[in-house]
């Protein structure tokens, strides 16, 4: 393990990636709630999205 973890650019890059992911997830969930659709249908999409 890296003792002076926070001074290292990789840690910052990793934390940024994690934060961006979280933001995207929250935004995605909001959008989905609004549209009420099922765009992330199944593993493979259902091919029958509601109108």
């Amino acid at each position: 393990m890296n003792p002076n973890a926070l001074s290292d650019w990789q840690t910052w890059a990793a934390i940024t990636a994690v934060v961006v992911t979280m933001v995207l997830f929250i935004r995605g969930a909001r959008k989905k709630k609004k549209s009420g659709g099922c765009d992330s249908c199944g593993p493979v999409g259902c091919g029958s999205d509601p109108e």
Binding site: A5, A14, P43, V44, G45
Partner: protein, 625 residues
Amino acid sequence: MEDSTDLVALAGNPNSGKTTLFNALTGSAAKVGNYAGVTVDIKRGETRTPHGAVLEIIDLPGTYSLEGGSPDQQIAREVLSGKHDRVPRPSLVICVLDASNLERHLQLALEVIELEIPIVIALNMVDLAEKTGIRLDPVKLAEELGVPVVPMQADKGKGIVELKQAMRHPFPAAPDEIGWEKGDAESRRAFGLSTSDLSARRPTAHTSTLSDKLDRVLLHPVWGWFFFIGIFFALFWSIFSWAGIPMGWIESAQEFLIGKVEGLMSEGDFRDLITQGILGGVGAVVIFLPQILMLFFFIGLLESSGYMSRAAFLMDGFMAKVGLSGKAFLPLLSSFACAIPGVMATRTIDSAKERLVTIFVAPWMSCSARLPVYLLLVPMLLGGREGGAKQALFFLGIYVLGTLTAFAVARILRGRLGPDEVESHFMLELPPYRLPQWNYIFRHVLDRGWAFLRKAGTTILGIMILLWAATTYPKLDSEDPGEVLSHTIVGRISDTIEPLVKPMGFDGRTGTAILTSFAAREVFVGSMAQLFQIEESDDEDETRGRIRDRLAAETWADGKPMFTMPAVLALLIFYIYALQCLPTSAVVAREAGSWKWAVGQFVFMTVFAAVAALLVYQVGTFFSS
């Protein structure tokens, strides 16, 4: 919808080729299959006529008549009569008729003519009619009806140009005079029969077709079942034996990339995120792409061959025993691909209660998202070797178990709901066997594969990144990897839930992986790949290697092996039964008309899964010790 573009609706009996025509006109790849009730919702697209006009095309579910019928047929009826709340009345209806079945299909066309909307008749499947020896006379048909008739063969694109010519402005007006009494069903029927006699002359002697001969075997009370089981066995067997090679390629690519990244970057968190979280976690899921493609290919073959209705026919007697009709078996079969289209397909069921029961049990048919989980666990049970008849048989068993449980629950639920107000009449068409439209199957399989990759690149990638963070932070300065792990978020979660999942034979990490898979089932495989590599991460050479081998070597603190036969079986059972798919729940809520059904289903299935896993592990360890 814009007002300036004209709306053209495709209507007709089920299985007449509407969607095939829709795809040909609009270039889409909407679902096509050789059985009645493939399309259960409105599909939209656009086409350009040779005169440059843009038309909006909508594909409708098939309907036998403009009266009565199941929810899917209701949609078609509402649109045609202008009563649908989101779709305006179409300015032109293309009525698609199966020329080899004209006397039956013509009835709907007559009903649509009575509505006085501009109409063009697409006399489809002329190839089939000719093969059966029917002598078609489209000109006579047009004369009798007073509307344009375009003979065509939609699956080969023949007649599309002529049809587009007929779709030009001004649209052909509905005939001023009709040859039967408007609104009188009897008179309409008689007119339809005499017209179809005149314009589609049947050969006098009935010759036994290839379909008849095949059905003598495939619908045979004994041989029929033999083939039914044989077909599904062959399906799983080929998934195992053929997918191994492309799977190996993906695996080597994954290892190559991990090696490259490790060579290029210095040690650190970001490198770990890439190698462990992204390449390791997402890669563990993507490896199963070949199998997913194979499964969809085979389901596509089944759907387009005409065998689906035969399977439903065979199951009819059995289904009656659980209080459902054979028709309910079609949505259940579709659920092997994905429960969502399966739930949607229950719209073809007339009886509301039967429909609710079918919706409730549909997620128990093993969907393709479970495939990666099964593919990870089954070889662990059977000695780790991939391929072979034994695994195919075991797989068949998994699918049968899910199906039988679905039936048992359906039976109990059906009994509780009480008898139906309307008598459900089981009308199952047995269309002739057909060769698939290969270009459609190809597109369909690619489509599904692409959707799987998209999901891997979005939802699964996101969860893998978050999981990586949760297994890494907060950090502890220690030499003991176990201590470091239990200091992290995942370590704390897994220590908390371990007492809960231990009776099922799982440790806290497996429990955590199960938790993450409530976002999507496939995530389980990626989570396991991440969670079970951490302890070895100080030993660089050991980090890689197959998840399965790593799991097999895993031990409890006291040195006993962790993934014993009962434990793996319990995991498998949990995944057969648990409902871990939010989109499915959303669709169930919509189709059943209430959130209560979706919530009830989720709780019931998840509790059932946990109890079943518990029982399997406890009984299993009791007997194996």
